[in-house]
Every structure is written in structure tokens, then in C-alpha cells.
Subunit: 336 residues, 2 copies
């Protein structure tokens, strides 16, 4: 398989991207080619720095970079030679099977949906964001590809997330929830109440409305949500974890005795961080576009990039898109 | 001042409620009367158990209790003698100045809005939920009183939150944010983009769109959000904190050496918990109704109840409602 990596996307690009690419090339022998897309001189310098010398690597030049201040659609239309656009073009032209980017999420989504289009029957693509869970991992979809989802979009997010959980993650009968402001059937807003009816009438393993705690504490594989709320929930949870670790660190350093205790228990903090960090999960597949697209966190470390590439490798291996197309077609009467 | 306490509301009612009431009576001498509303025998038994003997306490019988499985509006209309209804009636009739409840949030909101009505000019009441912040506290409004807010409701939430921060919390020029899926002005959904324009044109100290991290990391006093998303964000953040502490505890107990370190650093965990826990903040005022209503967490401890009562005492002391009425009237042309 062939992977295109947006070497310029992310807060620590290209350094962390190239380091992560190197880790991925070692870990995933299924990768036959990796296109590193970006400023050729900068990418080459990083490859030299980290000692990345691999026949499978190909440097693909891209003259421009999308900045975080650019608007998503303008970035696609005006910066035609940006690294994300060139990387997505490689997938569009069939030169690569997947693209991985830690850059401007909106630009990656826009580039993918404009250039690759959605799969037949899919109304809106959705970012499936992995949440570490007591039972493994729960994917929240959509975590921010679109705002103002209609009920049918929420329904399709559930279908796509369910296909991903079944075919890529190996869950035999993925449990699906719909995020709402309470568990009772009548809870929700107009959009979720309509989506609830569609989900209930479907053959999905629908558990009903779920709440924040179900992200972490329940045996649920997929939670459907509109992209606006999904983005807010994702960022709220991330911010909570970050501030708690920060405050705990401050408190642990406040006396020498506590500091000594913290040093003794250091492994526990590391293990908890590892279990809860996006680095371990690495990337969120953008489900519903006609190609494999993985969105990595803007602050991705090399480990996070490696794992985002893993997400791409798995999606290719398990042919997620033909399965999504098939499932969406099964529900054709609903989605018209 | 006179406070009505819903003695039957909450996961640990009436025990924690009565204990919290006792703490509040000791801490806040401004309370001249406290009505404990609920099953008289049960409340009396708890008062005996915790040794609550205070001339200011009055037992007000209520024959019924709202269950978590009841629908909000039905609870108000059918269970007329439920503790929350009787407690709100005390405010409606002028017998009390505020009501505090840790029971069914939907029922408390419905009872308050149906019986007390909203303040003149206010379209929708909003729950102002306190988030501990690097700079003090940030109130997210609306955290779940309503779903499907229109732009003018988001705007009014910002106005009411700002009045609360100024007059009750003493911020001289409260900073207001609008929660969206990105900081740039164009981000958001249809409702938030319209609300953005209203906020920008107003005299509020509007900082623009904000994200999850701003709840904890920015000098922002008030964040406006629609009640559906606000509820999801609140519960997502709470669940994150809960699961992180749980996982950390598991890791700390996994070896004797780590456990010893954890015992040495115990104070740091306690201090972090205290700083981040809703117990410290206690309750969320329901802003915009014609009366003081404080919503406490369903799992409230005695300390949380005491602090929820404190929120009521402060709101009465600083006459938050006349100030809200005045500010809403100033923006009268906008809210029609």
C-alpha cells in the first residue's frame, strides 16, 4: 500500500512528522511506498537529521503550506500547491491509497471532500475521533468535519462508525449510541430526536441516547453526534485532561515530601497518560469520503504520527470504504 | 433572607441535603429562615440524626417526589405536591427568596419557568455552570435548561452571565466568549455566527469565539453556548475528570512502591480534586427566571449542598435579577 503524508501539517512539522514516518516505516512493512509531501529542502533536511533512509520514501514537492489562520475552503481553492492539496491529489489520482495530515483540520476536510467527493449515498463525511474507554475505544463521529447536521447525517454517521468498528476494529456487533442531554428516549434536540427514530428503526445495534460518561465508562463502540457539538465535546474533554494533569503536577511539586512521593509513583502517571492520550490512538479517520483520509492532532508527536499512519494502514487493509458504500446503500430508502 | 431547600432532590437525599443545610446555617448568618421541603418524617429523622436543631428551620411537607425517570413537564403538571414544586411555590408566593435543588434538573427548570416565568424581556432561562479556571471561575451558560437555542437566546445568555459575573462575583468588566468549533470569526454554526454578530455589536466585553481550553486556561468569565451543547460539554468534562482519577488510582495501586509514593503525595490528589470538583462550587444559578433558583449536582455531598446554598445567598445579596432585568431592557431593540 502507498501512503501520502502531509509533511508540513501540524504544530511541530516537519520534524515530528518525519520522525513519525520513520517509526511507521519500521513498524508497518505493508507500506510499500510513502510520499512525504512538502517543502523539499525542509523535508530532506529532517530526513537527514533523523536518519530516514528508506527506498520506499519518495519526496513530493509542495510549494505552499496552509496556515492555521487560513479559512478552510480558501486554503483549498487558492493554495492549490499546499502540502495537503498535493497529498490529497496523490490519492485522487490513484498514486496513493491514503493520506495522513496533522495540519489545519478544516483544510484537510475541505480538500478531501472537494477533491475526492463523498462516497455514493453519503450526505456528509464525519471525523471518527477515538476516545479511550474502559472497554477499549469508543469513536465519536462527527468530531468536527461539518456543522449543522441534519438527522439523516447523524444516522449515516452511526452507520459509518459502525462499519468502521466492525470491519477495521473487529467488533462483531458494534454498539451504537446517540449523544444527547439525557438518556431517556424523549431527550435531545429536534435533530437528535429524529435521528433517534431512524436509528431505532434500523438494524444497527442501537443502545439509545447516551451521555458524556458513556464515552469512557460504557461498552459502546460508536457515538453519533453532530460535528459542531462533537468538536466542542472533544475539545472540552481534551482540555479537562490537560488542566487536571497540570494542576496535579503543580500540587505534587508544592512540597518536597509530595515530590518524593510523586517520583516513586512516576510510572503510574506515565501509564495513565499513555492510556488517556491521543498519541496512543494517533488519528481520526474521516469517514464517508472516496479515499482514506486520517486527521491527526495538530500537536502530534512522532508517536502520534506513527499511530495515525497505522490508522490509515488498517483502513486500507480492511477496505473500509467499499463496506461503507454497501451499508449506506442498504439504507438507501432512508437517506434519500 | 429565606431559603427553600428541596430536601428530597438528589441521589443522596434527604441525608446529604440536611447535612448540607446544617453546614449552611452555621456558615451563613444572613439566612433568617430555611424551609426544608419534603417528606416530613424522613426530613425530621435526618435532622435528628445530624443534630440539626435551629429555630430558623421550618419543615414544609411535600407528599411527592420527582423520580429521575419522570419527564420534566409531567413532573410539574402531575406531581403538584412534589418537593421541587412546593419549594418553587414558596418562592412564587414570596415566602422564600431562593430555592435550591439537587433533584431532577429538567423538573427544577420546568417548575421554575412554568411557575415563576422568565424575567421581562428574557426569552429563555439558562443554567450558568461554574468551571474552575486558572484565573478563578468561568461560567458556561446555558448548561442544559433548553435545547435548540436561537441566536438571540445565546446573546441573552451572554448578557445574563455577564451581569452575574459583575454583580455577584465582582468582576469589573466581565470577559465574554462564545463557544464554537474554532476561534476565527467565521467559525461556528448558523446560530453562533448570528449570535457572534449580536455580541460584537453590543457593549459587552466580547472576546470572540472560544474553545474547550478557554473554559480552564483563559481569563474568561462567561461562555455562551446553547443548552444542548452546553450540557454535552459539561458532562463530557465531568466524565473526563472522573475517569482520569479512576485510572490514575488503579495505576497507583498496581505496585506497592507506587502505592507508597501515592500515600506520600496524598495531599496533592486531594487538593487537585478540591480545586476541580463541583463540590467546591456547589451549584449553578438558573438565570433569567423571576426568582432565585440554584441547581445543585445530582450526586451532591453535604459540602456541595452547603455551597449551592451559598450561591443562592450571594444571588439574593447582590440582587442579581433586577440587574438582569435592567441589562436585558437596555438591549431591548435586539431581543424583540
Amino acid at each position: 500500500m502507498k501512503i501520502a503524508v502531509d509533511a508540513m501539517g501540524g504544530d511541530f512539522a516537519p520534524a515530528n512528522i518525519i520522525e513519525g514516518a520513520k517509526l511507521a516505516l519500521t513498524a508497518f512493512p505493508a507500506i510499500r511506498k510513502m510520499a512525504l509531501v512538502g517543502d523539499e529542502a525542509a523535508v530532506r533536511a529532517e530526513c537527514d537529521r533523523v536518519g530516514l533512509r528508506d527506498r520506499r520514501v519518495e519526496l513530493v514537492p509542495a510549494a505552499d503550506v496552509v496556515l492555521m489562520t487560513d479559512s478552510a475552503v480558501q486554503a483549498v481553492r487558492r493554495k492549490k500547491q499546499s502540502s495537503i492539496n498535493v497529498a490529497v491529489d496523490l490519492v485522487k489520482n490513484g498514486d496513493c491509497d491514503a493520506v495522513v495530515s496533522a495540519g489545519h483540520t478544516g483544510a484537510a476536510v475541505a480538500s478531501a471532500t472537494i477533491k475526492l467527493r463523498t462516497l455514493p449515498g453519503v450526505g456528509r463525511a464525519g471525523i471518527a475521533s477515538p476516545f479511550p474507554n474502559e472497554y477499549g475505544v469508543c469513536h465519536l463521529i462527527d468530531a468536527g468535519a461539518n456543522v449543522d447536521s441534519r438527522p439523516v447525517h447523524l444516522f449515516q454517521h452511526a452507520v459509518m462508525g459502525s462499519v468502521y468498528a466492525r470491519h477495521v476494529l473487529g467488533r462483531s456487533d458494534p454498539v451504537v449510541g446517540l449523544m444527547a442531554n439525557g438518556e431517556e428516549e424523549g431527550k435531545g434536540n429536534d435533530a437528535t430526536r429524529e435521528a433517534f427514530a431512524l436509528l431505532k428503526a434500523s438494524k444497527l445495534n442501537f443502545r439509545g441516547n447516551v451521555e458524556g460518561r458513556d464515552l469512557f465508562m460504557s461498552p459502546i463502540d460508536v457515538i453519533a453526534i453532530d460535528g459542531f457539538c462533537g468538536n466542542l465535546v472533544l475539545k472540552g474533554c481534551e482540555a479537562t485532561a490537560k488542566v487536571l494533569f497540570k494542576w496535579l503536577k503543580q500540587e505534587l511539586k508544592s512540597t518536597p515530601f509530595r515530590t518524593l512521593g510523586a517520583i516513586m509513583a512516576k510510572g503510574a502517571f506515565k501509564d495513565t497518560y499513555r492510556k488517556s492520550s491521543y498519541e496512543t490512538y494517533g488519528g481520526s479517520p474521516l469517514l464517508g469520503v472516496n479515499g482514506i483520509v486520517v486527521i491527526a492532532h495538530g500537536s502530534s508527536s512522532a508517536l502520534a504520527i506513527k499511530n495515525a499512519i497505522r490508522v490509515g494502514v488498517e483502513a486500507i487493509t480492511h477496505a473500509v470504504n467499499p463496506h461503507i458504500e454497501e451499508e449506506i446503500a442498504r439504507y438507501g430508502t432512508v437517506v434519500t
